[in-house]
Structure formats: C-alpha cells, structure tokens
Amino acid sequence: MPGRTPRAALVTIVVGLAVATLAGCRGEDRPEVVNVPRDAKTIRAAIEAAHPGDLVLVQPGVYREEVEIDKPRITLRGIDRNEVVIDGEFTRPNGVVVTGEGSAVQNLTVRNALLNGVVVRSEGEGGQTAGGGYGALDPPPDRPLRGFLVDHVTAYNNGLYGIYAFNARQGTIQSSYASGMADAGIYVGRCKPCDVVVRGNVAERNAVGYEAVNASGPLYVYGNRFTGNRVGVTTNSHRLEAFVPQEDAHITGNVIGANNQELAPAQAEGGFGIGLGIAGGTRNTVARNLVVANRTAGVVLASEGDLAPVGNRVIGNAFTANGVDVVYATTPAAPGSGNCLEGNALASVLPPSLPTTCQGSVGAPSGVPLPATAAPPGIASRDVQPPPPLRNLPDAATAPPPTTSGLPGPVDLSAVGVPEADLLADQSTIRW
C-alpha cells in the first residue's frame, strides 16, 4: 500500500470485524477508523487523514474547533454522545460543516457556535445575484449536496440553527436533539424536491423547534417532539430563497406542545405560543399530530407576503388545550384557497365560520388576525439551560459506518398514528 504510507503512520488499524466485512477487501476502498485523539489530535486532522468511506471515531473530550467534512462518505461519530463535545466557544461560526456528499454525523454534541451546530450544505451556492429576487431565478444554477445523515446529534446553544440542511437532498435527520437556538432547532431549507426525512428528534427551548423554508416534498417530518419552543413548527415559502413556493411536505404523528417557552430566545417576528404555522405553503399535509397546550394557537395558516397557503390539509390531528386550535390568518393580499380540515379532534377555530370538514370548504374563507399574545422578552442562546443526558447510538464504538446511499429510503406513514404525550419524553425537559 505505498499510496497509503503517510496515512498508515497516522491511522491505527482498529477495524472492527463488521467494518472489515462491510469493506470486503483491503485497499483504497476499505473503510478504516481514524481515532481521535489517538490517531489524530484534532477532529480536523482526522478528517484530513480520512479517505472516503472511513469512520472518524472521536473519544470523549471537548473539542474547540470548527470541523468541515469536505470529503464524500465520511462518518464523523462520537463514542459517547454526551461526552464528545464540539464547542464553538461563541467565537467560531459553526460546529460541523458538511459539504462532502454521503457523509454522516453521529452521536456527538455541538454547542456554542455563533451560527450553526451542524450545517449540511452544497459548496456551490455562492455568487448568485438576485437582482429581481429569487422568484425570477428559479431554478438556481447550483448543484445540491446529495446524501447526508445527521443521527443522534445533540445541538444546543448555537446562535442560529442547531441542525441545518441547506440546498441538500436525499438525507435523514433523526434521533437528534436541539435546544437553545435563536432561530430553529432543526431547519431544512431550499430543496425541491428535498427527499428528506426528519424523525425521532426532540427540539425544545428554541425560538422555533423545526422550520422549513422553500423545502418541498418528498419531505417527511414524523414522530418528533417539538415542545417548549416559542413556535413549534413552521413550514414556509419565502422569496429570499429559491424554490418558491414550498410544497408537499408531510408533518405527521408529532407531539407539538407547550410552545410557550419564556426561557428561550425570542422568535425573530415575535411569535409565541404557536404550535404549527404554514405561511405561504402549498399542498402540505398535517396529519395525526398531538397539538397540545400552545397558548396562542395550535395550527395557523397564514400568508407570506404575496404567497398564500394553498391546498393544505389538516387531517386527523388531536387538539387539546390550545388558545385556539386552528386559525386561518391570511391577509387580503394573499387570501389562499383549497385548504381544508378533516377528522380533527378540535374545540375551536378562527374565524368561527371556518369549515371543519373538507366537504364543507366552499370558497376561500376570509382570514382573521392571529390572536395577540404578548411575547415575553427572550433570553440569549448561551443562557438557555443545557440538555439532559441523551440516548446514545447503539454500539457506537463498533458499528460500521452507516450506508448513506439511497437515503432517506422508503417512508410508510400509514402506521404512524397520533402519538401519546410522552413520545420521546425521556429525551425532553418539557412538561405541561
């Protein structure tokens, strides 16, 4: 292996049986393990030493560095999710930047980054000039990143987003936790089609738990716990990004509760007490969620500038103890059409005349202003309480790198029902 001599000196061969089996043969394509700090003192150095397909396995410690995974098919994994910490110290922009296709981040914590905990993005988005706004430019000329996995990652007290996929497709964000972000805990932006799954995550104590802007289906958000934020979920269109309008997301079987958190950063537009909002989104399906104890409103359908909510369906959700269960809050400039409710367990809607069955929706209802709820002052990201100990990836020390081709894989929502209130509660500090 002359070509690997420099690396052989760096990399201790500690390939587990499963990894060796997966690779099949020795040589350039065989996955190897780069152990931090044994083989490389920093994660950056380990990424530099790693080859596509390799596993960078990180031992417990606080790593004060910004990591970029700029090679394809690298898995960055902590050996203990709660004890392997990448700390931005409020000076570095990001914890982990993923620009290599098919790469994975697993089982570690990213905190105190000025911008994002983990950001997955294509390398090609620079240089566009939207002289006429993005609506005039669709589709953008750049190439999305394809293939990513964020799994069992804890992101907290980062300045903007916890886990952020931008211009990235064919990926999964799962079993992760996000708290204390001044914008969204988990954010999927600018993809059409996205081919993204967001499942089994907890987002709490953020300005917004989960947010998607111009992120279109296939996009499945299911089995998550979005509780104790200021706004639980938003699915929006926005003209500052490509791919207007947002379309065809499924938001199913989530707990969306108690999004009235005072000890969280303020939402940029003052939102508070809102479970789920669709602003200018099209043909989204909000189904079989437990929407509970959101002080202002459970679900809000709204306009975003000139972009109206169109053809969204709110179906089979269980609403409990919200200020108002469903509010149709569009403006005259973008009144919306074709939205409907069906089979929900709900107690109140605004306007009161809003049809509660799809058969009943004749014509577009007139929107009403969202009921005013005074938002208490927010607190800084860095002052939000840290997360509880969180569940580890099974067999983190020995499991082979995950397969990231073909993500996110098939999704069957038919078995996803309305969750119990304690869904993922052992990974959460929010009760109501």
Partner: protein
Amino acid sequence: MSGRRTAVTWLVAGAAAVAGIAIVGAILVRANDGGAPSPSSSGPRPVTAAEADRLAVMRFLLHQGRGVHFRTHVSTAGNVVSVAGLLDFHGPVGYGQVSSAGSSFTLQWTKRSLVAWPAAETISEPPPDLPAGSPTARPLAPAQSAVDTVLALLLELGLDRPDNAQLIRANGARWVRSDTIAGTRVDVLQGPAATADSAASGGPLTYWVDATGRLLRVEAYLGGGGRPTAVDLDAGSFTPFPRAADLPA
C-alpha cells in the same frame, strides 16, 4: 451661521431631505439601484463560505459586546454633519454629538425617536451625566433626512442573533478588496443586493470586517449619486451610558 441653520433645520424639521435608504429589518439585504452588480474578474467576486460566515456573525458580535464607539460625517445639502458617540445595542439606543460648521448638539436616539439638547457636551470616557435641561424631541425620520438615515442605520448594526450565511451568499454578497484599518487587516465585503420592497436608491452596504467577524467600518450610499457615507466603529472600552428619561423606545 449657515452651518448652525443647517443643523437646526435638520434637528427641528428633519428637512435636509435626501432620497433616503429605507432601513429594513435585515440591513444585510438591501435594495439594489437597478440591476445586478456586474461581476469582474479582477475586482469583486462572490464571497466564500467563510466570508459569508463573517458577514453573518458581525452584527451578532457587536450585540454580544453590547456597545461600540462610532464616528461619521454625513454630507447633506452642501454641508457636512459630523456625528460621533456611542451605540448601546442592548437598548438599542445611541448617544452622540452632532456638529456642523461650528454648531453642535448632543442627542440620544432610538429606532423611532430622538431627543437633542441644543448644547454641546463632550462625550468622554466614562460617559458624563446627561446634559442639563429639557431636550427637544421628535420622531426619527430616515425617509426625510440623511442624518436620520445614518442614525437609524447605526442602531441596526447590532442584532441579538446572527444573520443567515447561506442566504447572504446566495443573494449575491461580494468580496471587494483587502484593506487595513489601524493596523488590522480587513476584507471589504459588500452585502447582498437582493430585491427589497421599497424603491430605495441606495446600493448594497459595504463592510470592513476583520478575520474574526469584527466590523470596523460600514459604508452606505444614501442616494442622490453622491459619495458614500462611511461610519467607523471602535468596540474598545464601551461603557453603558444613562438614558434620557423622556426618550421613547
């Protein structure tokens, strides 16, 4: 006398009218004065991801530091109005001395209002007590006054959260050149030229940003085709100052 008259005119009536820049929520995304900036192989180029990160954090860093000293000279109606003082981004509130051709005022302002004392006070370190007497109050009027435009802009330079680096980059932010300010190497970066709702005539703002994202200078075209207005910032030794009791938020 003409200088005093100019300053008085501005202070009382906000009448030194210049086609102002609408101060929008995110100053990084500004109106372009018609058409995209033309790319140049030798000059401006799209920002790198790292440069976009620095643009994204600069306002947040200023806010985290709470305050900054500033100094600027605004050309208006044939005169130059100098403004220097302190910005407290946690207010947000500004405290400065305005002078033009021998006359001067002390003022405090928020995003909506200003109060001014028609007597010069030297704002030293630590800041003095507020000037004696009752100040004159009026709404801040950036649409009518270049000075007010700058005052409003100054309070937007700090923000309680970062901007989105991906959107900054995707919306056309550009690296212009390298420069040095007081021995610190900086990059001169132009903000996005995305569309805005207003028909404002100002171009994108230009920022002098060091390697850590610290903003040392910002430059804005206030319209009318004149020279840009530059604001120099110094984050050293900021001390919070007392706030005028009758200054609305």
